[in-house]
Assembly symmetry: C2
Homo-oligomer: 116 residues x 2
């Protein structure tokens, strides 16, 4: 089954689901649309691979745009805020235990370590 | 630039090139066609994400087929042999310092840690 096949089955936005593990890292699929909260991951880099749609990653001093078939690695400790004007499907790669909101917490924090 | 754009510029088969790093892991693009050598990576899992073509990964007791838009994680220490009947473009994810032939060595061992 492809990433695309798995992602279209996700019913909720902003709720990453684990599809595979490599050592102590996890691969997570997620659907997002709209704005998120500012956060960082002080202990780890975070990788975004975009499969559908145009992902904007805002930083305090600029922004990156990541298109389908492209990847972006957000350095550890760098504040960022994902934004999707229209729905984006993507793959996240990060160490097991990494929360979607980093240490920012709040109501946007998704339950972690849920598998498809 | 997309993975596809970068991979078509690779002139040699079986020569992985680093395109990004996440913590102590590397993302490598590679074009392969034909058969490889049996090897394993005793210290790490290894992730294959196929972008084009049909990748076969032979194991001592079977084989996996990985199609475009699919991924496969070979567990650490498991002997495997990639095979591509027709050209395959893929993304490898593994710790920095991981050789393409693991500890098997030999003439198929590519120079490691070369960036695009």
């Amino acid at each position: 089954m492809t990433f695309a096949d798995k992602i279209v089955k996700l019913t909720d936005l902003w709720q990453p689901r684990v599809i595979a593990e490599m050592n102590d890292y996890q691969f997570k699929i997620v659907r997002i649309e709209g704005d998120f909260v500012w956060h960082d991951h002080p202990e780890t880099d975070e990788t975004f691979i975009v499969l559908k749609g145009s992902l904007q990653i805002d930083f305090r001093d600029g922004a990156a745009t990541v298109e389908p078939g492209q990847m972006f690695v957000v350095p550890k400790g760098m504040e960022h805020k994902p934004y999707a004007a229209e729905e984006v499907h993507m793959l996240l790669i990060e160490p097991r235990g990494t929360l979607n909101t980093g240490h920012a917490g709040g109501e946007r924090t998704a339950q972690n370590d849920l598998w498809v």
